[in-house]
């Protein structure tokens, strides 16, 4: 992608973000604003996997491990330090450090993609079991009770940095939207940097990239850690919207994010964001109806997309728009075309 196009996309994202955070709280009820904050945190979660899987080509089945660690790190640090600013740093740092330790064994151990997926899924399920078994007073980290399957219901809400006021639901929503726009911009920018190009080269052909002088293992570890940090940020927002419990390490959470990225379109950043929001709304809608399990609907949607729209929402929409534009263009030029002009190969 070229730089001007990226700037247009970032500008558009900022405009949409600004409009959403100004207008939405004016028209939506409080419940809607809180729900929108939850959707936004999940959109950041989807972006973290879109960066790791869609952009870097590393399929991680256990992205929820980093998401959950971010949420738990925030809750435990906020209870212990009393200040949520430090807790925010913990929410990002803990998943990054965990990813660095796990990724070292995965990438330097030269595990293939399938094993990497299986191990990351296993890790999140181990965390699910582990946290579930931490009920009782003896399971504490400092002042914070981990709480087993009950989770940590008394998570301190986010405050204005360094001991300020507690953020209202609307302020939290605005903060979440700002985070989403910043993360999106960061992902787009990263893709255009030297590091991003190197990651793309490793994704395309790891051996070839190494023969050109890149340390593929180090690059993969770096993007793995960055993605974990973003998932941790999403976990931090989630912890402030919904309470922290072991279900965030569960299979359902691990699967949902994969579905959002697949449906949104691998290799895009906007697609998974849109898909995560739309699919959560679909799940809530079917949950309200009550006569069908929303997970069955999501599963059916996944199968439908894999079979009929394998490239995902956004790439398919872009392709269709391109075809329509070409048709309209060729119709307009047909009357005045010079011999040989029509049918010239279009290469993007």
């Amino acid at each position: 992608m070229n730089r001007p196009l990226m700037l247009v996309q970032i500008g558009l994202a900022m405009a949409v973000g600004l409009a959403t955070m100004v207008l939405f709280p004016l028209v939506a009820p409080l419940y809607g604003v809180i729900n929108a904050t939850l959707y936004t945190s999940m959109a950041i979660f989807a972006l973290s996997l879109a960066l790791l899987w869609g952009f870097a080509g590393i399929l991680c089945f256990g992205q929820s491990a980093f998401f959950g660690l971010g949420a738990y790190a925030y809750a435990i640090a906020a209870i212990n330090f009393g200040d949520t600013t430090i807790a925010c740093a913990f929410a990002i740092l803990v998943p990054v450090l965990f990813a660095a330790a796990l990724g070292y064994f995965l990438f330097y151990g030269r595990l293939s993609d399938v094993y990497l997926g299986v191990i990351t899924l296993t890790v999140t399920l181990i965390l699910f079991k582990l946290i579930n078994s931490t009920g009782g007073d003896s399971w504490r980290i400092g002042k914070a009770r981990i709480g087993g399957f009950n989770g940590i219901p008394d998570t301190p809400p986010l405050r204005v940095p360094f001991g300020g006021e507690i953020l209202s639901p609307t302020q939290l929503f605005v903060f979440a939207i700002i985070c989403l726009v910043v993360v999106y911009t960061f992902c787009k920018w990263l893709a255009l940097t030297r590091f991003g190009r190197a990651i793309a080269a490793v994704r395309e052909n790891e051996v070839r990239a190494e023969l050109l002088g890149y340390n593929a293992k180090r690059l993969k570890l770096a993007i793995f850690c960055i993605s974990a940090g973003l998932a941790g940020l999403a976990g931090l927002l989630f912890a402030n919207t919904v309470f922290v419990s072991p279900t965030i390490f569960g299979l359902s959470m691990a699967a949902q994010v994969l579905i959002w990225v697949i449906v949104g379109g691998l290799g895009t950043f906007v697609g998974p964001v849109v898909a995560s929001i739309v699919l959560q709304m679909v799940a809530v809608y079917f949950g309200k109806l009550g006569w069908i399990d929303p997970n069955i609907v999501l599963g059916a949607l996944l199968i439908a997309f894999v079979v009929f729209v394998p490239s995902g929402l956004l790439p398919t929409a872009t392709r269709i728009a391109g075809i329509l534009k070409n048709r309209a263009g060729s119709r307009g030029r047909a009357g005045q075309a010079l011999p040989g002009e029509v049918g010239e190969r279009q290469v993007s």
Binding site: R197, A200, E204, E210, L211, L212, G213, V347
Partner: protein
């Protein structure tokens, strides 16, 4: 010899338990264009892969610019100035041509990378109109020139070329020959070319080494090759050419 950029002694390598190279000895002088000629399956590509570190050496030594690089990783060898244009080009299909070149400038800082790319575009003007096109949609010849350009972006001191004429139309082969001749002169870089195309290798190489069954059997004067005085067995038979 003091101006040797590459010295290979007793090099052995293979795939799993199957040995392919049985003790290769040769050297490349600074600025020299050395060709390696051989039949299919004689170990030409294996030799280049072992020099690049893609395959581990099971014995022998590789001295590059005075340093023993035998145990270094491919990335470390590339950063020391060893460039490699593999068989089949292996450009990055999803990246456009310009990004393929940028990826090639891995070990350079931003300013040097930009300068290196500009220089490559001057040397390979055929790349200029295709810079925004994805690598995967380029023709075989364009991909080959791009693969060479990507390698040159890293400003290598020794370029390893693995059968650059494979699957390329004759007009592009001639163009490649001219490009390589000009580059060898202007950049004064050393080149190790592995090839089956007799005309290509004899027109470019200062000297030609013949590889047979994993061993360098002899050195041939390119002039002798040009005159067609070739010992049968150096080159693939017509049957092999048809099969390939």
């Amino acid at each position: 010899m003091s101006n040797e950029i590459l010295t290979v002694t007793g090099l052995r390598a293979g795939y799993d338990r199957i040995p392919i190279l049985f003790g290769i000895d040769f050297n490349v002088a600074s600025g020299e264009f050395v060709g390696i000629l051989g039949h299919n399956g004689m170990g030409k590509s294996t030799l280049l892969k072992t020099l690049m570190g893609h395959l581990p050496a099971t014995g022998g030594k590789i001295i590059f610019d005075g340093d023993d690089i035998t145990s270094l990783s491919p990335a470390q060898r590339a950063r020391r100035g060893l460039g490699y244009v593999p068989q089949g080009r292996q450009i990055f299909p999803a990246l456009n041509a310009l990004d393929n070149l940028r990826v090639g400038a891995a070990r350079l800082d931003r300013a040097s990378a930009s300068h290196a790319i500009e220089r490559v575009l001057e040397e390979l003007p055929r790349l200029k109109p295709i810079l925004t096109r994805a690598g995967g949609v380029l023709s075989g010849g364009e991909q080959q020139i791009l693969a060479l350009g990507r390698c040159l972006c890293s400003q290598p001191r020794l370029v390893l070329l693995d059968e650059p004429t494979e699957g390329i139309q004759p007009s592009i082969i001639e163009e490649m020959k001219e490009i390589l001749r000009a580059l060898s002169r202007s950049r004064r870089m050393s080149v190790l070319l592995v090839e089956q195309n007799l005309d290509f290798i004899s027109d470019l190489a200062d000297r030609v080494l013949v590889i047979q069954r994993g061993l360098l059997s002899e050195e041939v004067d390119p002039e002798v090759l040009r005159r067609g005085e070739v010992v049968a067995g150096y080159l693939p038979s017509s049957d092999d050419v048809i099969k390939s």
